[in-house]
């Protein structure tokens, strides 16, 4: 996985952009835990997704694109990279079924 940590425009390095080893599939999103709000614009030629996990991060991306973006919460900004990598590994995990 390729990781790019960016400075957030409100201060603090808590935007983490990751390039996964493969494109995101819709079913990968089910492996993200703690999602309170899930928005998928599935009708688009390139479906956009937005998963909000309170207390942790906002995850956004495009289905069939390997790049995902984590906007980590201010309260846990010191763990931005750790939280993003943990979630990214879940996303990129191979399904066992």
């Amino acid at each position: 996985m390729k990781v790019l940590v960016q400075r957030d425009c409100l201060g603090g390095e808590r935007i983490v952009e990751i390039e996964l080893p493969r494109p995101v599939r819709l079913e990968d999103l089910d492996r993200i835990e703690g999602v309170e709000t899930r928005t998928v614009l599935a009708h688009l030629p390139r479906p956009f997704f937005r998963l909000d996990v309170p207390g942790r991060f906002l995850l956004t991306g495009i289905v069939s694109d390997p790049r995902v973006r984590f906007t980590v919460r201010m309260a846990v900004r010191d763990r931005a990279l750790e939280l993003a990598l943990e979630a990214a590994e879940r996303l990129a995990a191979r399904s066992t079924s």
Binding site: L10, T37, T39, L41, L44, R46, R50, P54, G55, L58
Partner: protein
Amino acid sequence: MSVDERAIVEAVGGLPLVGNEEGLIPAFGLYLTRHYADYYNHVSYAYLHAAHQEGPEAVAKARAALIEAGHVCAFNTFGGIMLSQEWEAVVGPMLSGRDDWVPGIVSVINALGWGRWRLEGLTPGEELRVRVDNSYESTGYLETHGTSKVGSVCFLATGGVAGIMNLIYHGDILARPALTPDYYAELFAGTGRFVAEEVACRAAGAERCEVVARRA
């Protein structure tokens, strides 16, 4: 595929742009507020009217400062939107070339609650003419102050229209530049930049608001 404004407005409107448990709205790589037009209008026009009490020099300074705030908005908000994943997914597939970015960003603007922006004319690289119906600025001015005796009052719209041309034709937002202070200066202060003028304002008695951006 041409730009489908209705689809863009619907998609942007479908995003849950509400403060999270930290009271912040992250979207398009920015932090948004769903703010009060009354607030913006009150403070802007208090400044403008105070300047009119002081004389022409103060008026020129106030108008320039308010438009400059619009430039800052355009650079960061429009620029941020055009660099965002949301843009890539929603608008990207509709874009055939550089010129389509103009109706693309105008469509997104129409989901922000600012009033209805309509593209009246685009001469690529030279001129952009935008009509704004129900601009929150002119609506608010008329409601509070009646017909303007201080000229046009849509400063945010004026700065915004200049910003669209500076991002797309003076700079190159398609190349995904970093939106730094130096890049802002290059786009809004350098040679070849676009500046805009509100050539008709509803608050000043015109039928509708119209803003034109041309090279300085």
